[in-house]
Symmetry: C2
Subunit: 397 residues, 2 copies
């Protein structure tokens, strides 16, 4: 009955223990590290040397010392290594270079439809990534790449799976192409998970249970429980776009079922309803613009979409008991109407104990949020036990 998995993690952690202690950024001497870890002094000295060679740790001048004496304290150095964060949207691509502290150093974006296919989109990513890196001196700086894609991704392989708005991408080896180009670990996930990570890291670092919901051409969620992005058994946790909305069997969904949440409440459904009222709206962005301009029919339709979304989210609130629900995407950003509809239903229909301190808010992420989330996914990997071990092996070799 003893779970053997805990042990593996702990044994692994022992290997990079010195680094994991230094990771908080506080400078420490070799002697302090030996006391904190219980490791032999010679072991600590060897590990500090490896960390210095790997560029993960820097010597820090002793505060009391002003002369040229060699420094004896060491601290995490997130500035000397970095990652690329890539946000592939339906109609844009955005890439940024960050250091291991998550500080964005430089970024660039372009209008490019994902439907142009992986060769064109990833070709741009490789070219621009190399250009950003060239400005940063050398190839040694880059340690990982994180990518968000606007469709379902098999996380273990990094391949898109039946992505509806991404012709040519199905099962495409995104990880392989980018690993060949950059020769570092590449992590690929869907854009909603990436935005959930970005939102939490940038705005809710102390919240361990957070639901990020994106309403755009589809509807999807990123689920963070116990401080960790949950992917579920097949990696599709949060895929709430096809939850059945009772009473809406009249609405056909592109998935083949009827009454799916996104067939009722996502951008195209709202646009279609508004066209029925004589408005000239087609895209998600059109809907957002109409709402921003105060069009009464658009405001009413978005608020009703918020109510339908809220209906599905009440079950989610009961199941995972989040502290925060963040609504993102262009329609959520266009005023408080989607939010108001969702709040109305969730606060009415959920139990008081679940909603007593539940915050339901609009995304505070800027247009750089997805790049920030993709970068943080890569940074988490680089600084994980396995990632640090890989850097140390390389530095020692």
């Amino acid at each position: 009955m003893i779970d053997p998995r805990g042990q593996e993690t702990l044994t692994g952690s022992a290997q990079s223990e010195v680094f994991q202690i230094l990771r908080d950024g506080q400078p420490r001497t070799r002697s302090e590290l030996a006391t904190l870890t219980g490791l032999a002094r010679s072991t600590v000295a060897a590990r500090v040397d490896s960390l210095l060679r790997a560029g993960l740790v820097r010597p820090v001048a002793d505060a009391a010392s002003t002369g040229g004496r060699p420094s004896r304290q060491f601290a995490f150095d997130g500035g000397g290594l970095g990652v690329l964060g890539v946000d592939v949207g339906a109609t844009h691509v955005h890439i940024g270079l960050s250091d291991l502290r998550g500080r964005l150093l430089t970024d660039t974006a372009t209008s490019l439809a994902v439907s142009e296919g992986p060769d064109k989109v990833l070709g741009w990513v490789v070219d621009e990534g190399r250009r950003l890196l060239a400005d940063h001196g050398n190839g040694e700086f880059l340690r990982g790449v994180g990518v968000g894609l606007p469709g379902p991704v098999e996380h273990t392989t990094g391949r898109p799976v039946d992505p509806p708005i991404m012709p040519g991408w199905d099962r495409f080896d995104v990880t392989g192409l980018l690993t060949d180009a950059f020769a570092v670990p590449v992590l690929v996930d869907n854009d909603v998970n990436v935005m959930a990570l970005g939102e939490r890291i940038d705005h809710w670092p102390d919240v361990d249970d957070l639901l990020f919901v994106k309403v755009s051409t589809g509807i999807g969620a990123g689920v963070i429980s116990s401080g960790r992005l949950q992917r579920g058994a097949q990696g599709i946790a949060g895929d709430i776009g096809h939850v059945y909305v009772p009473g809406r069997e009249d609405v056909q969904c592109r998935c083949g079922n009827s009454g799916c949440l996104e067939a009722v409440a996502a951008g195209p459904a709202i646009a279609a309803a508004l066209r029925g009222e004589g408005l000239d709206v087609h895209t998600v962005q059109d809907v957002a613009t109409a709402v921003t301009q105060g069009d009464v029919a658009a405001v009413r339709a978005v608020r009703e979409a918020g109510r339908v979304l809220g209906q599905v989210l009440t079950a989610c609130v009961s199941l995972v008991n989040p502290a925060v629900i963040v609504l993102g995407g262009p329609i959520a950003s266009a005023g408080d109407h989607l939010l108001a509809g969702a709040r109305e239903v969730i606060y009415t229909r959920s139990t008081p104990i679940a909603t007593g301190s539940l915050q339901i808010v609009r995304s505070r992420g800027t247009d750089k949020a997805a790049v920030s989330g993709a970068s943080s996914m890569a940074i988490q990997h680089v600084l994980s036990v396995d990632g640090v071990e890989a850097l140390l092996r390389e530095a020692t070799a």
Copy 2:
């Protein structure tokens, strides 16, 4: 942007590193432990001594040695220490004594209504717990107590919160009373979480994403994601009994809302519907009995309850993407009818990728499952980094 929490865990783990390596049960010498951990030999020797004194580790005779020479290998010894697991049900109490490997050594149960109040119920637990322990020699054996209660529990304090079927228990200090009686750490949780843990440990040890759903007088779920029981922000994750079932606004729930899942599909609702058809059923057990006897109306009502449950579970499937859903409680155990209804809706309404390898099954837990889950909750605590540190401090003092 660097999450400082990972670091604390890893630093903490370093403290009990020797034990965490020995926990897999494989015997190792002090020298092997020094190599595996990188700890100084003197540190390893001191820690092994502490672990021996704490009773967590035993010397193992070298296989090659047959004489009286002192043994040099050490291994985890789960047999010398143990925990009490307590299952408080609506109408019964069950207590078992297990060793730290989770092997049930002895147990006893009684018919006792939880509505008799905490003094009577916990009085029985203390008396019987002491009796079970007396048969096991000495007070040194016991290292923890785990308790499952049939109502909402604030996990951090172990106090029941507004428990509907537990008069006299609201905010009662269960942890305090049992800590005073047994002088060991006491962990209290609701029975559904405890059964989810027991179900996973006993039957699905390799499944990291599991939903356990209990249908009884109420309906609740235990959510295991990434191998971990998820409690959510307020500790009420899985509290799905009051999710709104659209179209059933006619049904009043005891919570004050209408159309709640458990007001439509739990035992009392099924019993009320059957009384409307002239059957003499009142309790959950009556419903289970009628189904077992093949009463057509009862079978039909339970199958319909399964469909309603399935409707709520489709949203849960999309959100957390479990590999297994286990249905428990007396009605689930009375044949495959509840299961069939739930499967029908979940397999129809969820996306193929979510249900392709989703198993929906009846609980395989015996009447000892809740005791097993309560014990494992206590064992996990005792063998955690903090738990082992506490044992070592005590052994060193």
